[in-house]
């Protein structure tokens, strides 16, 4: 076995030193009736070449596309070459959590820079070293808001939040009989202010709103913040497409008290949904209720500046059942990809890319609306995703697109019965004009349904 650095002679030397005839002699602590007295019924070991071929064959059973017009929480953006080159350095990808700061300053300084940039994007003051993904970031944000608000037990969730984020919220709220998770309806594709006002009460700890929401629409956080703050609740903005931070004002500057969501767009590929990058940024006053790892500045014995994991009194390895969360790991290497991406992009790159995304999406929408089967649904401002009603049959459209190696937008009816027959489209900087034209031409050829 190529990963085991031992020779038979060395093996014997180890056993001799221990004073046992074989490894079996070291297993006496496992009671005999509990031992597995057969080999595992699995294939035996394989050469690197054999495994490489087997895995390549498996990968190739996925269908490849020239262009994907599907976003819905997983976005295809260009990934600069520097990212893969840097993260493949063993010092980054094989290292452990930086519990020993003197030998982990690389990871710690990176995380300090990453935290700084997430605060910059969101316009908030404190963030952690990441959470698992967008859905679980909503759970942590909602539970944190309940801790911060004290004696309030209700969390309102806009129906515009990613439907799968809402499912993850439901799963995690189920064990807490004392907490309520209540949905706020949509009106014209954005959170319904009247419904929100009706549901706000002294028991509401927080309101979670998509920014932009799942339908691509830009929610006016400032307008929502008024009634939410008047009720003494916290406004939590949930951003599933981090590129929007280059187009829309930072949530912390327009009324959000907390910002969470998904930042996979910063330097990652869709990767079948993971590993992704959950984030949660909050106000300074709330920092001791933050879940997860946090890196802070420290000085060494010679007053030199360095970085350490800090505020650990919140965490499971210290507080056990009184911890702010059970989270132990973070999305380390994904934060590194995001940090490198943000540094390469800089302020102009991020704004420029965002403007290109908006331009491509607007162009796609405009060209689509020239097709007789496509119809505008709402006229909300959007970033790089939007909804159109399709008068034809989605499966015929899908078949035609697949034939041209194009992945179409999402059939919304599955998640929103009220949007039956509607499609959620996405375009990014990766979509050239010719790809967009070829999609529109393909759609024009879809046979009309009977």
């Amino acid at each position: 076995m190529r990963y085991l650095p031992s020779s038979p002679v060395e093996d014997q030397a180890l056993l001799d030193a221990i004073g046992v005839p074989d490894a079996e002699a070291l297993l006496k602590g496992i009671p005999e009736p509990l031992r597995l007295r057969r080999e595992l019924e699995l294939p035996t070991q394989s050469a690197e070449q054999e495994v490489a071929w087997q895995m390549l064959a498996m990968a190739n059973r996925n269908t490849r596309f020239c262009a994907q017009f599907l976003g819905a929480g997983a976005y295809d953006h260009f990934v600069p070459s520097a990212i893969d080159a840097l993260v493949s350095r063993q010092e980054w990808f094989t290292a452990y959590t930086p519990y020993q700061p003197e030998i982990s300053q690389g990871t710690l300084q990176h995380l300090f820079e990453y935290q700084t940039l997430i605060c910059d994007l969101t316009g908030l003051e404190v963030t952690n070293a990441s959470l698992y993904d967008g859905g679980t970031s909503c759970v942590e944000a909602a539970l944190m808001a309940v801790r911060v608000a004290k004696k309030r037990h209700t969390v309102l969730v806009s129906r515009g939040l990613h439907p799968l984020y809402r499912e993850v919220l439901q799963t995690n709220f189920a064990p807490h009989a004392e907490l309520n998770l209540i949905e706020v309806a949509l009106k014209d594709g954005v959170t319904d202010l009247a419904d929100l006002q009706a549901k706000l009460s002294g028991d509401v700890a927080a309101v979670l709103v998509g920014y932009p929401n799942f339908l691509g629409a830009v929610e006016d956080l400032a307008a929502l913040a008024g009634p939410i703050h008047a009720a003494g609740a916290l406004l939590v903005s949930v951003t599933q497409e981090a590129f929007a931070f280059g187009w829309l004002e930072a949530p912390g500057r327009v009324g959000a008290d907390m910002a969470c969501g998904e930042a996979m767009s910063l330097g990652n590929k869709p990767s079948f949904g993971g590993p992704f990058l959950g984030f949660l940024a909050v106000r300074d006053a709330h920092k001791r209720e933050l879940p997860g790892r946090v890196v802070g500045q420290a000085k060494d014995l010679q007053e030199r500046l360095g970085y350490v994991l800090t505020l650990t009194a919140r965490e499971q390895h210290i507080r056990r059942d009184k911890a702010t969360s059970n989270i132990c790991s973070n999305q380390g290497l994904v934060t590194l990809r995001a940090n490198i991406f943000m540094q390469l992009a800089g302020p102009d790159g991020l704004k420029g890319l965002a403007a290109q995304n908006a331009a491509k999406a607007q162009f796609l929408r405009q060209r689509m609306l020239e097709l007789p089967e496509m119809e505008a649904v709402e006229d909300q401002p959007f970033f790089n995703e939007f909804v159109l009603r399709y008068r034809g049959d989605y499966s015929a459209l899908e078949a035609a697109c697949l034939q041209e190696s194009l992945l179409p937008g999402l059939d919304l009816g599955r998640y929103y019965p009220e949007y039956q027959g509607c499609i959620l489209w996405c375009a990014t900087e990766l979509h050239s004009r010719s790809m967009i034209e070829s999609l529109v031409e393909t759609l024009a050829r879809v046979p009309a349904t009977v």
């Binding site: 076995m1 190529r2 990963y3 031992s6 030397a13 180890l14 490894a23 602590g29 597995l36 595992l40 019924e41 699995l42 495994v51 895995m55 390549l56 190739n60 600069p80 010092e91 980054w92 990808f93 094989t94 290292a95 452990y96 930086p98 020993q100 990176h110 700084t116 404190v126 698992y132 859905g135 799968l164 799963t171 187009w247 500057r253 590929k269 869709p270 079948f272 993971g274 590993p275 802070g296 420290a298 060494d300 350490v308 965490e315 390895h317 507080r319 059942d321 059970n326 989270i327 790991s329 999305q331 380390g332 590194l336 540094q343 800089g346 102009d348 890319l353 607007q362 162009f363 900087e429």
Partner: protein, 514 residues
């Protein structure tokens, strides 16, 4: 190794007008600005203006202050820092995997579904448990999923149970998880050998009596939802009465959760499904070699007994086998089953940390049944070799063979006022990453060493020689160890002040009036 003493924060290197990314030509009309004025993105305070050269050098220099598995033995107990095969990285980077979209129709991602199905089949056979979900993103997320399965099971039988039992030797994530799942935690005391105590335990100093398993089960019986037990435990010892423990818990209707953080000591030797475990998690980033990445991403699949299967998170992968005509054998297609009325729901937005699953399956295929078992045995031999070489110089917590890790305490060095922290920091000066320290909590001044199967005799000897030298230093020049490390880029850091006056991000220095 450390070429530069200091690499400034990237923000300090920012120079207006530099750029690290050139945008592609825009081939469509510029975007019309439909944003309400107050929602237009304003300025950034920190995003730096730097070139690609600056960024590459910045992260390359920073990387040199880290210690990685390729630098040498990484003896963190319980963390299982084994070799990260490069094939796994290459396979995980295949564009056919990385480009695939989680919302794409099943028919277009058959390779991904086959991967999920195949990895699940391996984990089923390895653990002896028939139900598997790969959705949890990490060990702690797996624990939470597992405890929610236990909760759903009891609820389906009309029972509201409120207590989870957890040994005092358990990982901090166990009690934190139980609390997050809405349970009260009751601690189980350990006996001196680190295993769970059936009898009550009297604390020798305070005289306080802590109820043992038997008393707790008798008193709390129908209130106990389950117990979370790490096996082998955090002292590296198999809970030798595991079957009795699980029988006792089952007798009052409670379920047994196994924290599988140490499953790398059991693969091919014993299967949790065969000794009474109802549900457990695995850490793919420990046992199955997926890289730790400086803290993540991990993956924490959950395996469970038949009776818990209906509650697994949605969706569940299903394989359908079709007879191919003309005697050509069978063909498989895969689909997601979302119609699971008793499911606890989703625990990850999509299907978990898929890229990590790719690496874990690659690891499994490379090793095979024989390689997996050989790795287990090798890890156990390595840990015992360290035990034998260091005993005498360091106080052993338990004087009997351990499995994959060995725990020492600092009692011999404490006589010279040298403590575990000093030993750990001194190892850095010698070019090693320290072991896990001060865990498990039941061992005073714990030094928990796990060499894994990835170390050969040469590396083990070099590490042990260094540990013995440090033991000598502790006797001869104890004061010097208090100053360690002296050869790292930084000396010991003041973590107390860092927590008291936290600085958690860089801020643009205020411009002072002239």
């Amino acid at each position: 190794m450390f070429l530069r003493q200091r690499e400034p924060l990237i923000f300090e290197r920012s120079v207006p007008g530099k750029r690290g990314m050139d945008l592609p030509r825009l081939d469509v009309p510029e975007a019309r600005d439909t944003r309400p004025g107050h929602l237009r993105r304003g300025g950034f305070d920190a995003l730096p203006e730097v070139s690609e050269v600056d960024v590459i050098r910045h992260f390359t220099r920073l990387s040199k202050w880290n210690y990685g598995v390729d630098d040498g033995i990484y003896p963190l107990g319980s963390c299982t820092m084994k070799h990260n095969p490069r094939l796994n990285e290459r396979v995980a980077g295949l564009p056919a995997f990385t480009d695939s979209h989680p919302m794409a129709p099943e028919a277009l991602v058959q390779g991904n579904l086959e991967l999920v199905y195949t990895l699940q089949a391996w984990l089923q056979e390895i653990t002896g448990l028939p139900g598997v979900t790969l959705q949890p993103s990490a060990g702690a997320a797996g624990e939470l999923t597992g405890v929610m399965l236990i909760r759903a099971y009891h609820l389906s039988r009309g029972a509201q149970r409120r207590v989870i039992l957890i040994p005092d030797s358990g990982h901090g994530t166990n009690p934190a998880t139980a609390a997050m799942a809405g349970y009260d935690v009751v601690e189980l005391p350990s006996q001196p050998d680190g295993t769970i105590s059936f009898a009550d335990v009297t604390d020798p100093t305070s005289g306080k009596v802590r109820k043992g398993l038997q008393t707790l089960v008798a008193e709390l019986g129908p209130e106990i939802a389950g117990a979370m037990i790490t096996n082998p435990n955090t002292v590296g010892v198999f809970e030798y009465r595991f079957k009795e423990i699980s029988d006792l818990l089952h007798s009052v209707g409670a379920l047994v959760y196994m924290d599988g953080a140490n499953m790398n000591a059991l693969i091919g030797l014993a299967r949790p499904g065969d000794f009474g475990v109802d549900v457990m998690h695995l850490n793919l980033h420990k046992t199955f070699s997926t890289p730790h990445g400086g803290g993540g991403p991990g993956a924490g699949p959950v395996c469970c007994a038949e009776k818990l299967r209906p509650f697994l998170p949605v969706p569940v992968v299903v394989r359908e086998t079709e007879e191919v005509r003309e005697g050509k054998g069978t063909a498989h297609t895969y689909r997601w089953d979302w119609d699971r009325p008793q499911s606890i729901g989703k625990v990850h937005t999509f299907f978990g940390n898929f890229g990590i699953l790719v690496r874990a399956l690659t690891y499994c295929l490379s090793h095979g049944s024989d390689g997996l078992k050989a790795a287990t045995l090798r890890a156990i031999v390595n840990a015992n070799y360290i035990r034998v070489r260091l005993q005498g110089a360091y106080a052993l917590h338990i004087d009997s063979p351990s499995l994959h890790e060995v725990v020492f305490s600092d009692t011999l060095q404490a006589k010279h006022e040298v403590h575990t922290l000093d030993i750990a920091k001194r190892l850095i000066d010698h070019g090693y990453h320290p072991p896990t320290i001060y865990f498990p909590l039941i061992v005073p001044g714990a030094l928990m060493i796990e060499p894994t199967e990835s170390e050969g005799k040469e590396e083990l000897d070099a590490f042990c020689d260094t540990m013995l030298e440090i033991a000598r230093e502790a006797e001869e020049i104890p004061a010097a160890l208090h100053h360690a490390p002296i050869l790292a880029p930084l000396r010991r850091l003041d973590e107390t002040t860092a927590a008291r006056k936290p600085v958690l991000r860089w801020q643009k220095p205020a411009v002072l009036p002239a």
